[in-house]
């Protein structure tokens, strides 16, 4: 059930009405019930997995705190972490590991008969398993560090993991941000509904008008990339950058808007990353909840542990973190290369930060901004070729074609292409204004209700006029 479907809108309206009709102290119960329903709508069997994760993590956290010795606490902690990672690996990475093992075996197998993978699992990963396990692991680490108290209410903890707006695509919400809000649950407030609806509309605009519009051209080209020219693939790679951003940030905005309507403030996941002037800055603005999760629980511990290596500890930590982060996105070498590309550039930026700073002083600020933004977006678009491709060979073939820029431009449906350019322009202008001229005249936050209403009416009219209502599937759904 994706957020931009009519079925979901009906589900949410009923959910919200009943949520505010229930007494405050029972609302956690309704959050679990709706989360279970949302989960079962996709596949009823898999509800066992998040419920199991919630129970194991809840018990482990309490037992860790009660443990008489540090050694016992560590054992419980490791067992819970291994259980969470084990489930993630089992559902998401079993086929990758066994396929890789069989491929290596076949490589050294001298006989002509190649062995097929006897361990191949024909099962889909439970919905949002990567997000649920990461939230559970983050919670366990915080308890182990002693930064927070273990949650004593199983219902509250289950509600935290099963809160449906964040099941599909996050954000990777921290327990210490969510649970206090759940306990201090408040009555219906006009601001929550109003702000939530606005954020939902903005997300819906990005998803239906921009992302799904661009996906028509992108899918047409990438699904048959071998028949397309270098110039077509270059334009498609740029379109995919905007599609990816509009799709993911749009969906997150919708999630944040839904949560806000229910009285919850979830973590902002995007801060206009397309205006980042370096890859380092980019990852502070893109999928913020995931990158901070990795920074806190992966990058920093590695960098601290290897601090004897000096600057090389940063390179090691960057590479390891981004390879794992890439792998988190999917069980494929393409995602590992995607991560490695970012680890590489982050390391280069780290080593050159002083020389770049000196150079920046010699050039005008506006020129530095333009070149920085263009380079960052270009590099991210390049890495997304690996993100999108099914195999490394496919990605390399696309890159080879782009470098040669041979052939004619694919212009099969001019209206779709023209509309794609127009909607990219509208989204980019709105974000450009917010990024660089936020204090100037604002439409979305204007004091005059008529101006605000006209702005959001414009977005809704654009959705009706140019949104894609068929066949749009959220790209991050698979993670």
């Amino acid at each position: 059930m994706i957020f931009n479907s009519v079925a979901f809108i009906l589900f949410f309206v009923v959910t919200l009405l009943l949520y505010y009709c229930l007494p405050l102290k029972y609302r956690w119960w309704w959050i679990i019930a709706t989360g279970v329903f949302f989960y079962c709508y996709a596949n009823p069997v898999y509800i066992i997995v998040p419920l199991f994760i919630a129970t194991v993590t809840y018990i482990a956290a309490l037992q860790m705190q009660k443990a008489a010795t540090e050694k016992k606490a560590t054992s419980i902690y490791l067992l819970a972490i291994i259980t969470n990672i084990g489930l993630l690996v089992f559902f998401k990475y079993t086929n990758f590991f066994t396929n890789t093992f069989i491929d290596v075996f076949n490589l050294f197998n001298s006989s002509n008969v190649k062995v097929s993978n006897p361990f191949l699992l024909n099962i889909a990963a439970p919905l949002g398993i990567s997000y649920i396990t990461f939230q559970a692991i983050g919670y366990l680490i915080e308890i182990k560090k002693g930064n927070h108290e273990a949650e004593k209410h199983l219902g509250h903890f289950t509600a935290y993991l099963l809160f449906f707006p964040k099941i599909i695509a996050g954000p990777v919400e921290r327990a210490h941000n969510f649970l206090p809000q759940l306990k201090a649950i408040k009555p219906l407030q006009y601001d929550d509904i109003s702000i939530g609806i606005k954020q939902f509309i903005w997300g819906l605009f990005k998803k239906l008008v921009v992302a799904d519009r661009l996906s028509i051209y992108v899918n047409a080209v990438y699904n048959n990339y071998e028949h397309h020219s270098g110039i077509t693939l270059l334009v498609t790679a740029i379109f995919y950058l905007f599609q990816m951003y509009a799709d993911f940030s749009g969906y997150t905005d919708m999630a944040l808007g839904l949560a806000r309507m229910m009285g919850f403030n979830l973590t902002q996941n995007f801060n206009r990353p397309l205006f980042a002037k370096s890859i380092t800055e980019f990852w502070r603005k893109w999928h913020i909840s995931l990158s901070t999760w990795f920074a806190d629980y992966f990058y920093n511990p590695i960098a601290i542990k290897k601090r004897d290596w000096g600057k090389w500890s940063i390179v090691y930590a960057s590479f390891t973190t981004f390879i794992v982060l890439g792998f988190w996105h999917g069980a494929n070498w393409t995602f590992i290369i995607f991560g490695a590309m970012h680890g590489l550039l982050l390391s280069i930026e780290f080593f050159t930060r002083k020389s770049r700073k000196d150079f920046r002083k010699k050039i005008p600020a506006w020129f530095n901004s333009i070149t920085g933004i263009a380079f960052t977006c270009g590099y991210f678009a390049l890495s997304l070729i690996f993100f999108r491709a099914d195999t490394v060979t496919e990605a390399l073939n696309i890159l080879r074609k782009i470098i040669t820029l041979e052939g004619r431009f694919f212009l099969v449906d001019p209206p779709t292409l023209l509309l794609s350019l127009v909607v990219i322009g509208i989204m980019y202008l709105i974000e450009f204004k917010k990024e660089f001229f936020n204090s100037a005249f604002t439409f979305s936050e204007n004091n005059n209700w008529l101006v605000r209403s006209l702005f959001y009416s414009f977005l809704l009219i654009m959705i009706l006029l140019t949104g894609v209502f068929d066949g749009g599937q959220f790209i991050y759904f698979q993670f």
Partner: protein, 300 residues
């Protein structure tokens, strides 16, 4: 909040009216043919089907050969669902004498796209009750979405602007629905296995195909179901084709199969791509089919 909703409703009504006005005033372009086919054509010979109908059958050649006023009502990506809806609209106004239905490989395949492309009928939902049933096949929520005045014109703004100007030169009234293709292939044909991958038959499509035949028979329209040329050799059996042939045979309808015509299989220069002939190919094929139909009409 109420004021905001009123503003949205106001703009929806006003913009919806403007879109409707310009949609129905188009003089050329992608959507012009759809409107003309539903509301205006009085041609006695109509060609139904998807892009292979639209780009392979030249009405002017049929007119020259058969002396019957012809019009091509084919449209990109559509299936029998659209063709039957269109037939219902046509039959509400008049009865053509001859109908050619271009049937594609995997014509009965279960596919969400076949239902999605029915969106081209949305502007007619309120004015053409005979199309309601087909439009509502898109989803159980379609009738609620259509409460909006803008929604029927969703994604059409550029096409409507083009259709009201001379911006898009293809698709004018004098083309009579035919859209020419100019490309040329220069390689030998692939071999395509029609039996793979396996696919589910959409029973709704089969039912609509049967209804298409029934309606033609009821009105004494001479129906010819045609498989036009492809530029690939085939192995295996496409269950859609065998089912379509069986139903046609049961109803005494001619099923004319040109899909593996030797002349076309040996002539890549007659194709724009493997599934569409170019203008030269369309001229030759239309003349061939028109001559065949003329003979069959004379014998009936």
């Amino acid at each position: 909040m109420c004021a905001f909703l009123l503003i949205v409703i106001f703009f929806d009504l006003v913009i919806g009216k403007v879109m409707a006005h310009f949609y129905f005033k188009q003089i050329s372009g992608w959507e012009y043919f759809t409107r003309y086919a539903i509301e205006e054509t009085k041609a006695d010979l109509l060609i139904f089907g998807a892009s292979r109908a639209q780009k392979q059958h030249i009405p002017a050649i049929f007119e020259d050969s058969t002396n019957i006023d012809s019009y091509n009502v084919g449209k990109d990506d559509v299936s029998i669902l659209y063709s039957y809806a269109l037939l219902k609209s046509v039959l509400k106004r008049y009865t053509p004498k001859v109908i050619i239905l271009d049937f594609e490989n995997k014509g009965f395949v279960q596919s969400a796209v076949s239902y999605e492309v029915l969106s081209c009928l949305l502007p007619f939902y309120k004015t053409h009750p005979e199309l309601k049933e087909t439009i509502e096949m898109r989803s159980p929520f379609e009738k609620y979405k259509l409460l909006s005045s803008i929604y029927p014109y969703n994604s059409l703004i550029i096409k409507i602007i083009a259709g009201n100007t001379t911006f898009y030169t293809k698709g004018k009234k004098e083309d009579k629905g035919y859209i020419p293709l100019d490309g040329k292939l220069n390689r030998s044909p692939y071999v395509v296995n029609l039996s793979t991958p396996n696919f589910e038959i959409d029973s709704v499509k089969v039912e609509q195909y049967q209804l298409f035949i029934n309606d033609c028979k009821k009105r004494n329209i001479k129906l010819f179901i045609v498989r036009s040329p492809y530029y690939f050799k085939t192995i295996g059996l496409d269950s859609s084709i065998s089912l379509a042939k069986t139903i046609a045979a049961k109803n005494n309808i001619d099923f004319l199969d040109y899909s593996t015509n030797e002349l076309f299989l040996k002539s890549p220069q007659l194709f724009n791509d493997t599934i569409h002939v170019n203008t030269t190919g369309a001229t030759i094929f239309s003349a061939m089919l028109a001559s065949d139909i003329k003979k069959r009409l004379a014998n009936k």
